[in-house]
């Protein structure tokens, strides 16, 4: 019950505040939210779009949970995602052309995961060995990663067939197979599997327990003989690998190509969802579903109401704000992971080791 209030309260308040904003902008909030609901959830075609959107989000949520559980603030998810997307979109058309599809998908998934993981190595190394705050380094690496991705698309990966810079296009029928009778690609199943595996790993295995100890008490981790530097590198890399895998799934399942300056900005809204779920992997599934509904339905509703697409980001921002307020008032002295508490602790961490 308390959990429902804790999760539902901020969402409800954000929707209310969004409603006030809509009224102020001269729009009808009821029809706006009705549009979101009908398009994102109730319309058979719309709900498929929602489920398709959930695939990369769930994979990225898995990556965030692994990092946050170890108290590693991987802020650079978008950079890892976009660089991996550029690699997959750049190499995809060629690989799919020369290899059997299944093999090509496997290799491309691996490429995405590897690129995503590789983009965490420097922040992870600096944190593990010199205690450099990863919030700063992984954010800086996002800027580099986004621009490096664009550079690749405008340079070596650029399609010769168009004026707008983008990669070659994988033909629609060569994309990831769909679940029969739907437009939902198998990437969603992979994402659900991934999140269940993360859940199991975190709750049942010795590796998950080690990560949790590293996250909640680095000094205890050193005392009991965990190799904290190695664990930091591993969990950071795993987190990046999931970001890269999400990119591979999105490119191979939905787009088939990547154009320059494309940035869906999946990463930051997920922070809110992952902490609303208290870093519980299974708990994050319905929240990602909810976010899928408002982001797909919101796209449609915003257009109908003649509002910019980014209006939904305002609502997500308000969810974050109300969540932080609710955390502050409801859970003083509560030691479970919260966004506000975790961020405070992470920022307070000096540059010292541990």
């Amino acid at each position: 019950m308390k959990g429902i209030v804790r999760v539902g309260g901020p969402i409800l308040l954000a929707l209310l505040a969004g409603g006030v904003l809509l009224v102020a902008l001269g729009r009808d909030p009821f029809s706006f939210y009705a549009d979101i609901l009908s398009r994102g959830l109730l319309d058979p075609s719309g709900v498929q779009d929602t489920l398709v959107r959930m695939a990369p989000l769930l994979l990225m949520a898995s990556g965030l949970i692994i990092a946050f559980r170890a108290n590693i603030w991987n802020i650079g998810g978008d950079g890892q995602f976009l660089l991996a997307a550029a690699a997959v979109a750049g190499l995809g058309p060629w690989l799919i052309g020369v290899l059997p599809n299944v093999l090509a998908f496997l290799i491309l998934g691996l490429i995405g995961a590897t690129v995503g993981a590789a983009w965490t190595l420097v922040p992870a190394y600096l944190k593990a060995n010199f205690g450099v705050n990863e919030i700063v380094t992984s954010l800086m690496f996002t800027f580099v990663g986004v621009n490096l991705g664009n550079l690749l698309i405008k340079g070596p990966f650029r399609s010769t067939k168009t004026l707008v810079p983008h990669t070659d296009v994988i033909p629609f029928r060569e994309l990831l197979p769909k679940i029969p009778g739907t437009r939902i690609h198998v990437g969603l199943l992979l994402a659900l599997l991934a999140i269940l595996i993360v859940h199991y790993t975190m709750t049942r295995t010795s590796f998950g327990l080690r990560l949790r100890i590293l996250g909640s008490s680095p000094r205890a981790a050193a005392h009991i003989g965990l190799h904290t530097a190695r664990l930091t590198m591993i969990s950071f890399a795993l987190s990046g690998a999931f970001m890269g895998l999400a990119a591979a799934v999105e490119i191979l399942g939905v787009w088939g190509y990547m154009r320059a300056d494309w940035n869906p900005g999946f990463g930051l809204p997920l922070f809110a969802l992952v902490f609303l779920a208290r870093l519980d992997a299974v708990g994050v599934i319905p929240l990602v579903g909810f976010y899928g509904v408002i982001s797909m339905g919101g796209h449609y509703a915003a257009r109908r109401a003649d509002l910019p697409d980014d209006f939904m980001l305002v609502i997500v921002g308000m969810i974050l704000l109300f969540m932080a307020l609710a955390e502050y008032f409801a859970s003083r002295g509560d030691e479970r992971p919260s966004l506000a508490g975790g961020l405070r602790a992470a920022l307070r961490r000096g540059s010292g080791r541990g």
């Binding site: 049942r204 909640s216 205890a220 009991i224």
Partner: protein, 535 residues
């Protein structure tokens, strides 16, 4: 209105002999534990009021409530006879309730004066002049002279605490609460503090002195209240204390602290000198732990370890005596494998372990009972059951192919909870909800239950109440009798004299001498502790 009526009204508002601060029926429960159960106490101006109790008796909770850091579930708080609500530390300070905690809050890199000014002043401007005045004024009130320009990190802890008291007085405290104020002090520092507190009480302040040390309460307490398991189990005013006499009071307090049953020996008696008793020697014995010219590089503010050579035999307890900060922590961590050595060798059972990590040394039978039970010894957010097996994560039979066998882990925990008498609401409870004494039992149970050959103890009874102290010391002795070699690092000389066969003294990171624990050894050890040389 007649003059008489006026007087009556005035008196009821500010009673001449009434309380400065009073709690009535305060109850505060945490998951699984009732920390304060209908506690009623009145604190009076002009008195040092000692609140005594074992660890986990509810003293800290009460103090946190009075400092506005926690809210009681029920009950009321009265300041000067009027009901108040203390919903923030600011509210408490505004009502004249100041607190000084066991660990200093002052910032080491700042000077005394700068620390005085922290958080003071309206707006952005600092006011060094009035802070300096306050420092001088309250310094003379405390009977202490402060050097305003001294960096506070360089001062003794006692002086640092006095600065924090001065600061509390400056913010207008009429009630001054101190939480275990002597825990970090030298004996001289503690005596000085006692003098300061009595002085302040005579000037009309109400002093609340929270402690678990009986003799402190007997020495400075004008009024004594005993808490046990969250309840007030004894309360005596100045007249009763004077009438009863010291011995009677001691007996009454012990009864209140430990219950009506068999009261444990509060003064832990000195047994026959263990050095005379000797250990059971065996001609085929091989040294259990050897340190050979061990050196550890100091980090900032440390002395490191220099050229330490020491042998501990099976069944032997070697005490390492010394004033805190002379390399004890560095030595313990180097032996445990938590810190790398710069030169020298460590051998366990004749095998060199210098290159092994913590788990490698664990497998050789080395155990380390850390003195930092909250910071590194346990993980507060994990269950008691997991904490009891923290150093064996991933090992059979508790984990198979990386997967936890929760049933087995819980079974192990239940057995240890029983064997080591750990008071916890359940093995699934978060370790963070346990009191200090029970945390120490968790650490001991974990380290001592799995076939230890060599145990390094770091201040094993620091901050524990008398009863837990006794059980811990009994366990150390019993384990040695079973054949484990023990390195007992402690700043409590009595503890070392009680338990050790031999005593090594550490000073400035070096062993300045190793003496057999025979009658008269304490004098020699005392000389060595302050840097003298062995004869």
């Amino acid at each position: 209105m007649t003059p008489d009526a006026t007087r009556t009204v005035t008196r009821s508002l500010t009673p001449a002999v009434g309380s400065a601060l009073e709690v009535r029926g305060i109850t505060k429960a945490f998951p699984g534990v009732v920390a304060n159960d209908a506690v009623s106490i009145a604190f009076h101006r002009g008195e040092v009021h000692c609140v005594l109790g074992e660890n986990g008796a509810g003293k800290s909770t009460l103090l946190h409530i009075l400092a506005g850091m926690q809210r009681p579930d029920s009950g009321s708080i009265l300041v000067g006879g009027e009901r108040v609500s203390l919903d923030s530390p600011h509210a408490a300070i505004a009502l004249g309730i100041g607190a000084v905690y066991q660990h200093p809050w002052s910032i080491p890199a700042l000077t005394v004066l700068e620390n005085m000014m922290l958080g003071e002043g309206k707006g952005l401007r600092l006011d060094p002049k009035s802070a300096a005045e306050a420092l001088a004024r309250f310094g003379s009130m405390l009977g202490v002279e402060f050097d305003p320009g001294a960096e506070i990190g360089r001062l003794a802890l006692g002086r640092r605490q006095q600065m924090e008291i001065a600061k509390a007085l400056w913010s207008g405290s009429t009630v001054l609460m101190l939480d275990e104020p002597t825990a970090m002090l030298t004996p001289q520092g503690a005596e000085e503090l006692a003098r300061v507190l009595v002085r302040l009480a005579r000037r009309g302040l109400a002093i609340v002195f929270v402690t678990h040390k009986l003799h402190e309460a007997l020495e400075v307490g004008d009024r004594i209240t005993v808490l046990r398991r969250g309840r007030v189990t004894g309360a005596w005013g100045p007249d009763e204390i004077a009438a009863a006499g010291r011995e009677t009071m001691r007996r009454r307090i012990v009864e209140a602290m430990f219950g009506g049953g068999v009261a444990p020996e509060v003064q832990i008696g000195r047994s026959a000198h263990p050095g005379l008793r000797g250990r059971r020697a065996d001609a085929h014995d091989r040294p259990a732990l050897e340190l050979d010219r061990l050196c550890v590089e100091p980090r900032r503010g440390e002395v490191g370890v220099r050229d330490v050579t020491l042998t501990v035999w099976p069944g032997e307890i070697v005490g390492v005596a010394g004033v805190d900060g002379n390399g004890q922590r560095e030595l313990a961590e180097a032996v445990a494998g938590q810190r790398s050595v710069s030169s020298g060798e460590i051998r366990v059972g004749g095998i060199c372990v210098t290159g092994d990590d913590v788990s490698g040394r664990m497998r050789r039978g080395l155990r380390y009972v850390t003195d930092d039970r909250i910071g590194e010894g346990t993980v507060p957010s994990l269950s008691v059951a997991l904490n009891l097996i923290l150093k064996r994560i991933g090992e059979k039979p508790y984990w198979r192919h990386g997967r936890a066998d929760e049933k087995l882990i819980e079974e192990n925990a239940r057995e240890l909870v029983e064997r080591f008498d750990i008071r916890t609401p359940g093995v699934g409870a978060r370790c963070g909800t346990l009191s200090g004494g029970n945390l120490q039992k968790v650490v001991l149970a974990r380290e001592l239950s799995s076939g230890p050959a060599v145990v390094v103890y770091s201040k094993p009874t620091h901050g524990l109440d008398a009863r837990t102290t006794m059980t811990v010391r009994d366990r150390i002795t019993a384990l040695a009798e079973e054949g484990a070699a023990s390195l007992l690092i402690s700043s409590d000389l009595d503890e070392i004299l009680d338990l050790s066969h031999r005593i090594a003294v550490i000073f400035g990171g070096r062993l300045t001498g190793i003496v057999d624990n025979v009658p008269g050894a304490e004098r020699e050890v005392g000389d060595l502790m302050v840097g003298g040389s062995a004869r």
